[in-house]
Every structure is written in C-alpha cells, then in structure tokens.
Symmetry: C2
Subunit: 273 residues, 2 copies
C-alpha cells in the first residue's frame, strides 16, 4: 500500500529514512550500527529537519545552490555533523526537476550565484576536499575565483567530477542514480531490495568517499569484496564487520542510494513489502 | 547541540522518531525489534507523513478533532496499520496549545463537531474498543448519540477514561505526560534516558492497552516486572524477551512517552547526547 498523496518532498524524506534503516549496509550507519559521534537518530533528525528545504525545491522556484545551502543549514543543528550533504546535492535538483530529465534541465540553468551559495553550504560542513584544490572551500579566495571565472554550479561539479562521484552524477546525467533505481526495481521490494541494490552499486564503482579517506587501493578492494558477497562467496555480515573494523564507510554510494530510492519511489517501487 | 529554530511540529516529529528508535523498550517496536506486520519503517514513515497535520495544529487554528482525523488519515497510507493513534490524541492538543496548560485550555473548547471528527478518525483505525460500549465507533448509531447528547470531545474522553489511560490524560490534565517529561529530565539525556523513563512509567501504572489485550492481571504483572528491572533484579533484555514472547505490547505508555518527549524537548531536554 502506498500513499497516493505522497509529495516529492515526502518521497525524498522516505528515501533518506529507508536508506539509513536498511541493514546490514557494509560500513555505514544503519539500523544495527552507529558511528561513535553520528548515530541513527542524527540521520533521522536530518530527515525531519530537511523538510522545508525539500518543499522549497518542490516548488521548482528559487535557485538550486541556495536551496542546497538551506538544506545543509537546517540539518546542521545537531551534534551528528554532516549527515546528508552529498544526498542533498543529488536530491535537491531531483526534487526541483521532478525526474532525472527535469534535474538535468535545472542544473543546466545554474549560474555563479548557485556556485557561491553551494560553496557557502560546503564551508558549513566538515566534508573534506582533495588537498591543494585551487577551489578549496576553506579558502575565502575561492569565492572570488568563482566570480572572476563566472563559474556555474555545473562548472563546479565539472571541476570536481574526477574525484567525486556525486559531482560526476551532475555532469553525466545521474547514471548511478538511474542504475540504483533500476536495481531496486529488479530486487523486489522493501529493505532487502535496498541492501541488494546497495551491494550491486558497491560492486560496480569505487566509492570516492573511500578513496578520499583511504586511497584508491582500499576502494578497489571494497568493489571486489562487494562482488564476492553478491556471488555468495562471503557473508554480508563478514564484509560489514571488515568495513567497520577498518573504518571504511562507503558514504558516497549511500548518498547515491538515497537519490535512487527517491527516483524508484516516484516510479512505483514499493518500500512497504 | 539543539536547533534553535525547531518548530513545535518538528519537536513532535522528533518525539515520535526518538521514541521508536530507543531500545530496548520491552514489548514494543524499537530499533532492534519489529512486529510481523508493523516495522520500524512504518513508525518512521508515519513520523514523516504526520507533518502537515502537526503544522496545522501548530497554527492553533481549526478544530482539534478534525486535526486528529487529518493526522490519522495521513498516516494510514502504509501497510503497517495504525502506528500513532494514541500519540496523536495527546500530541495534537499539546502542539495546538503549545504546553500542557495550553492543551488543557484547548480541549475545554472542544464541541460535538470535534467528537464526531474524532469518531470518524477512530473508525479509520483498527484500534479496539471495550466490548459492548454504547459509543462503539464501529456502530454508525454512535454518531447520532454524540449529536443527541451534544457531547464534546472532552466528554467522549471522560466516557473512555476509566478504561483508557490516553483518554484519562485529557480528563486529568496530562499527569503521566508530565511525569514522563520529568523522568526524562532526571534520567540524563538521549536514548538511555528514554528507556529509563519508559520503564519508570511502566512500573507506575498498568498499561490500558495491555489490559484490553490480555486483561488486568497481565497488566499488573508488567508493572511488577518493570519495577524489578528498575531495581536491578531482572535484566531489561529478559523482560523485553518475556513481553515479546507473550505478545505483550505496552502501546499506551509508548504513546504517553511520545507526548512526554514532546514536552521535555520544549523544556530544553537534550536528545542529542
């Protein structure tokens, strides 16, 4: 049974809620696992606090960069740190445009004001950038560089796409979001399908958040290990314990999973098995 | 860290979220335990879907009976059944009035239209009434009786107060809600305080939902057992397993706990330890 009156904002909130509740999700906060300072409740509080920004996006009015900043500000008011920055980068244009095609249209219309608002949002988070990036968010000169070059938010994502799979989704038309939604739809319904789709995404691309934290070799090993779980060679619980033990957190693929859940829910996928 | 801009509706949503995530909560759905057809995700989906009705209550406009009906309708659109009917009976006047004093004022102003709307909401749920109640919600004649006697919603609660501790909260000025909020504040912060306060409420009054399902003797035994847990004589995990094994679900005290969390959050209690 699915609510016929579900709004886009509610679907985005459901996506955030369903992603964090699914288990076991190797290395991530899930129903059965907290990080020391970021817990299930923080993710769910962010899900609640995000509503006004998601509703703002749903109107299809206003500027995407500014709406992302509103979402980040609204969800920064708990001690769990940044829970959904990457997810908002994907969700806000998707909710704004309604679909992937609509999101692509919307992000093509971003301008330098979106880029500046986004950098302001970024600087409110503790998310790391690659060392010595010429557009480092922690360097106040970056805003001037954005303005001097008249960079749009899409240009900023282009700049980051090589090292960041979330930015790459913007630049390449949300292919992993699309794949995640399709994986959900072919994996049945509910919690089990989320875990299946998450594993399949993990097995297909190295998570750039893991690359930033642990380097490319560790990220590649996670891809191989996820494939072994999918092939039934390794129990998922073993893989989960390995990731947790080594502090390996596939945070970017989790963000893409949220975007995939949003799309799948809009296409009739059933969370409520 | 608490968000300074948290609205009443958000506090009510946080209360619903925090209550269901706390564990172990003997006999109830919690982070570590689902019922067969009602799962953690259903409670959290209701938390999301309840937002418009809670915002309606926050305006302090409109009629309480109708707003309760809106909350029930909005959260009925998943397969988990009724998750928060009792909680809404308490939360809607509390959010409407802002405080317990404000809620008491608001419920004194209810009239027969609130009673009728409430009965309509009730009939959308699967909540049971005592056998052969002359105001049975499943009997279409009840609406006529309400109108003939010009009963207010407060009169309806008076009628139910002997057998229902949620109705009793309306009639007696929310004493258990108040006690629950005080227990939270004296039990520290976060998840542990919720479990402590829940146990203390369980140890103080028989849960009328348990009485309806299993009779007064079982409900009294739960009171004794909760006291033994508080006194360190029985591990909470044992008590939880007993409740789950016997299908004992202290659902009304869980509803009161949500109301208590709402009040405590408004008084500065910290969920975010």
């Amino acid at each position: 049974m699915t609510c016929h009156m579900t709004t886009r904002a509610e679907r985005a909130q459901l996506a955030m809620m369903l992603e964090v509740c699914a288990f076991p999700k190797p290395g991530n906060v899930d129903r059965c696992h907290d990080f020391e300072t970021t817990r299930l409740e923080h993710f769910l509080a962010s899900t609640i606090y995000a509503r006004p920004a998601l509703e703002e996006a749903e109107t299809g009015q206003g500027r995407i960069g500014e709406i992302i900043r509103h979402a980040v500000s609204a969800t920064n008011c708990h001690a769990g740190g940044n829970t959904h920055f990457g997810a908002f980068i994907l969700l806000i244009p998707l909710v704004y445009g309604g679909t992937i095609a609509g999101a692509i249209q919307a992000i093509e219309k971003t301008d330098v004001s979106d880029a500046v608002a986004f950098y302001r949002a970024f600087s409110e988070t503790t998310v790391r950038m690659p060392a010595r990036d010429e557009l480092d968010v922690n360097d106040p000169k970056s805003l001037q560089v954005l303005r001097d070059r008249d960079m749009t938010l899409l240009d900023v994502m282009q700049h980051s796409a090589r090292n960041d799979m979330i930015a790459r989704e913007w630049v390449t038309g949300f292919p992993l979001t699309r794949r995640g939604a399709d994986l959900l739809k072919t994996s049945g319904s509910g919690r089990g399908a989320i875990v299946q789709a998450f594993l399949a995404l993990l097995a297909s691309e190295p998570d750039t958040f893991i690359i930033k934290e642990h380097g490319v070799d560790v990220a590649q090993r996670v891809v191989v290990r996820a494939r072994e779980v999918l092939d039934g060679k390794v129990p998922i619980e073993t893989f989960d314990a390995e990731c947790i033990g080594q502090g390996i957190n596939p945070g970017s693929i989790a963000d893409i999973m949220i975007a995939a859940l949003y799309i799948a829910l809009g296409e009739g996928w059933e969370w409520d098995f």
